[in-house]
Subunit: 267 residues, 2 copies
């Protein structure tokens, strides 16, 4: 059985039972304890399950807290250290009072956490990002009009007469499926469309891509390197992987995951 197969089987089981033990998985996967623990740990690092002693648990808690007065509360943060580190570095590029655009995605979602104290004009096509911003910050939030696509939870309109035509952002923060010498790559045509719309509404494009994205390829190029001004990645990136971006004149920021871990422990 391939690593990937085990991973998706574990995820499926966790989803069904909301908790699985290493012993259960032992039989079902036919792998050794060590491997199962490794699998659970990697899935936990990605934030897809929660590591508990003796097994794994669903990220989404079973008994969700209720809060009267606010229309919703937030679930546990699923952002992993890499994304947090990148998000923190990204937040340092933002100056108070400016207007920014945030494209939907898990990496950019992590950015929200660091925007609580800012006073910004924020446009985002991500429903979850808008929701979290609404609940945890005082920033002004604008959404493009359109239908909510559930898979990606983004708001996207098939029409051109978009409300965002009246928005201009100093910076666009976006994640990606893959990032390499061709530029930003995505796997889902919907995401391409959404991203393309946002690209028109800003000058400064900041790509937040954890180091695994640098080795990821796909069929669809959203935009070339010439459109990118800054790339933020984590210290898992090899120096030679970043050279192509640097020679293209792109500012490359490497966020330290270890430093982020320590900051996290302090809190």
């Amino acid at each position: 059985m391939l690593e990937r197969e085990r991973h998706s089987l574990i995820l499926k089981l966790v989803e069904e039972r909301s908790i699985v033990s290493v012993g259960d998985l032992l039989d079902l996967l036919g792998a050794s304890e060590a491997t199962i623990r490794r699998d659970i740990n990697t899935l936990a690092e990605r934030g897809e399950v929660k590591r508990i002693r003796g097994g794994a648990e669903a990220v989404r808690p079973r008994h969700q807290p209720h809060l009267v007065g606010m229309p919703f509360v937030l679930s546990q943060d699923i952002s992993v250290p890499q994304k947090r580190a990148i998000a923190r570095a990204a937040s340092e590029l933002i100056t108070p009072g400016e207007s920014i655009i945030i494209n939907g995605g898990t990496t950019t979602f992590a950015l929200v956490e660091f925007l609580a104290d800012h006073d910004l004009d924020i446009l985002t096509n991500s429903f979850p990002i808008a929701a979290k911003l609404l609940a945890t910050s005082r920033n002004r939030i604008t959404l493009p009009g359109g239908t909510i696509f559930r898979e990606q939870n983004i708001v996207l309109s098939p029409f051109d007469n978009d409300t965002i035509e009246n928005f201009w952002g100093n910076k666009l923060f976006t994640g990606c499926y893959g990032l390499n010498r061709f530029g930003i790559m995505e796997a889902d045509p919907l995401v391409v469309q959404a991203q393309t719309k946002l690209l028109k509404r800003t000058e400064d494009v900041i790509v937040m891509a954890d180091s695994s994205k640098l080795r990821q390829k796909s069929a669809m190029i959203v935009t070339g390197l010439d459109r990118i001004s800054t790339i933020i990645t984590d210290d898992g990136a090899r120096a030679e992987e970043l050279d192509v971006f640097k020679t293209a004149g792109i500012k490359v920021i490497v966020a330290s995951v270890r430093a982020e871990d320590e900051l996290q422990k302090l809190a």
Copy 2:
């Protein structure tokens, strides 16, 4: 076997099983490992499959939906029996498959609860309504573009080039601040603006107003009685209060709070 044949066979298998190992392909293709790896790599470069250790995977993995989990849960329902009763009556006016518009407000928020099983196209300017619909139903949800106004939690654009220009709803469900012989009254100019925009996108206007609204007055008239087709209120309304609407040709539905209470106890 030709290269082309191998490629399409691999794609077919990946499509079917969403993941195949090199070993599987070894038997099925009768080619050497090296060739199979080459095949997978070229397909991956074209973006037709995703390269994983030990084999190939479908580009869009099955567990993608979990990428962006629902970052919020909903608050306890603050709707009182009157609103529930009215909402239930309102939901009975909806036929499956149609497209409706829901204006923001606490009364219309109560309606969401009754839309879980429907298969509707829903346009709403209310962020909480959209959030709850997203979390608890499979309806298609569309939002107008614009900024989120925190006081009312509605999305509203100051511009005219609105995405909702491309939406048409069979019915508009709206609450109100006050309802009397002048028509629908509101206290907040923002709400007036939002409501006015929605009124243009439908023919059939259904006002959900608990009986206290019939005695409530304000400065701003959103629209006259001639624009209203149905009014739903609770049995706290006096008969003579409803006469003015009936004589204006409006269908008046009185929802029984007592009946709602009993239904509630059963659940």
